[in-house]
Amino acid sequence: MRKIRSSLGDLSSYIFILPTIIVLGLFLVYPILWSFLASFKDVNPILLKNSSLFEVPGTFAGLDQYMQAIDNPLFFKSIFNTLYFGVIFIPITMFASAGLAILVNQKLKGVNFVRSVLFIPYIISVVSASLIFMFLFNGDRGLVNALLQNFGVTGPNWLSSTLWAMPVIAIMHCWEKIGYFMLIYLAGLQNIPKELYEAADVDGVTTFQKFRLITWPLLGRVSLVVSILLIIDALNIFQEIIIMTGGGPADSTITVPFLIYNEAFKYFRIGPAAAMSYLLFVFVIVITFVQKRIVDKRLG
């Protein structure tokens, strides 16, 4: 009896974790399992309508849903589009936020003000930001085309162009996220002991060498972590697409998460949607795992 008592631990702790268990159990853990089960069944909306809460209806379909997901001609297109987005978004955000963190870490006039300004795009909603950029990049009367006109260039109708729609969305996403990633770099920079720089000063080390020997290696380590966050962020790009282009023009901005959303909520192909979302999930896990191995190797 005493043994059971002690393995249960502090009885009062169950009161404290009860809300968490209920809410996260029902609305986080159960959904994860639900999607997993649905990805192996031929679920359809009618079956779903009549099923109970703790039941994933439909007969077992093996890997059928996964095959259907891959067979979808938009599947590889969406991977390509997501890649296109990432190739623009990730490097720009990484270099800009690292550079700005170095800049903001200096004692310059107006540093605090600029730091706040950089952070504003991060705190406003994606919907707000999307509307702003739709207006800025408007083909007929947008500011961007007006500015280009000054240089004698006639700008395209950005968001209706299969070539330009995705880069505009990517640039907007950079604008939204740079402030946040700058803070992560800044936190890293401010963790460098001041004595390190002072010791370097005593030894007569030049500014450039200080940067190369102290700041640069640190930025490299932070960048490893930042890169994984950026990749995951790029793999989840979704809200901007719904608001700005709806996947168009000619499917050129359909990303993987947007395709999953469309499959589920527009075409009600629940099984393939669940299968696709799990393929994405597995991919994220693999990337996280590989990155963790690299970090451990470098730092360990």
Partner: protein, 272 residues
């Protein structure tokens, strides 16, 4: 050296200006007349400030109701998140219970789950529980966050356990220890968490999109997004005015409490 510094200052300020430009353009355009806003090339400062864009769009969209919905959802969710997550953070930090370590690892694991994995099952589960097309459906299912638990746990870890033991010996009840000792000690962290969660919920778009149907329940981001879809009927000046109204609360909140906000994000990123 002196020259170097002024180059850096110029660089800093020009980046600031580039980042501010979209916001500037939004705000001044929201004061232009319909005629002026369609003009090309555009004017860089309104010829005449048209204040009426604001009341017009406010009435047209029934924005008062939308605002109230957003306030109800954001504030209630934030309060619940703060209370429930702090309670769990406390249990994970200072208490022993069955399955604690497994549960903690599982929670970390859930952080890599892409939001799209959850979208469809959440829609299904919330509907089955009778919360589809209701504000409750946007509040209760999201009243605990893993981020909130980790965030508060970090700070409760720093509260000396001896202090809590002493209170316990003096005969303090568990709930009293929590609410009268732990909570006041980590008040700054709780404020920070509340700000971050409020902003997140105020801006939330995907769940309302999936879970709401009737217009009188719409929250601000959803209403704004709908506006963009039908932008033939509503002039840009009005859409932009609605946009300014929608982001004003979070921008004011951020500017007045930015120190806490920024330090919260930074500590979350370093320790987490």
């Amino acid at each position: 050296m002196k020259n170097n510094k002024s180059i850096l200052t110029i660089l800093l300020w020009s980046t600031g200006i580039i980042f501010l430009l979209p916001i500037y353009w939004l705000v001044i355009s929201s004061f232009k007349s319909d005629a002026e806003i369609t003009q090309f090339p555009p004017t860089y400062w309104p010829k005449e400030f048209v204040w009426s864009n604001y009341p017009q769009i406010w009435d047209l969209l029934n924005f008062g109701q939308t605002m109230i919905n957003s306030i109800i959802v954001s504030i209630t969710t934030t309060v619940l998140i703060v209370v429930f997550s702090t309670m769990a953070g406390y249990a994970f930090s200072k208490k022993q219970f069955l399955g604690k370590n497994i549960l903690f690892v599982a929670l970390i694991g859930t952080m890599t789950v892409p939001p799209t994995v959850l979208l469809l099952p959440l829609y299904f589960i919330i509907s089955k529980m009778g919360m589809y097309d209701s504000l409750t459906g946007l509040i209760l299912p999201f009243s605990v966050t893993v981020f909130g638990i980790f965030f508060t746990k970090q700070y409760i870890d720093d509260v000396p356990t001896e202090l809590l033991e002493a209170a316990r010996i003096d005969g303090c009840g568990e709930l009293r220890i929590f609410f009268q000792m732990v909570v006041p000690l980590i008040k700054p962290a709780i404020t920070t968490l509340a700000i971050i969660m409020f902003v997140q919920n105020w801006n939330s778009f995907t769940m309302p999109l999936v879970l709401l149907q009737s217009e009188d329940k719409f929250t601000i981001p959803l209403r704004l997004a709908m506006l963009a879809q039908q932008n033939v009927a509503v002039p840009w000046s009005h859409i932009l005015a609605a946009n300014v109204i929608s982001l004003l609360p979070v921008v004011i909140l951020f500017l007045s409490l930015q120190r806490q906000f920024i330090s919260g994000i930074m500590s979350g990123s370093v320790k987490g």
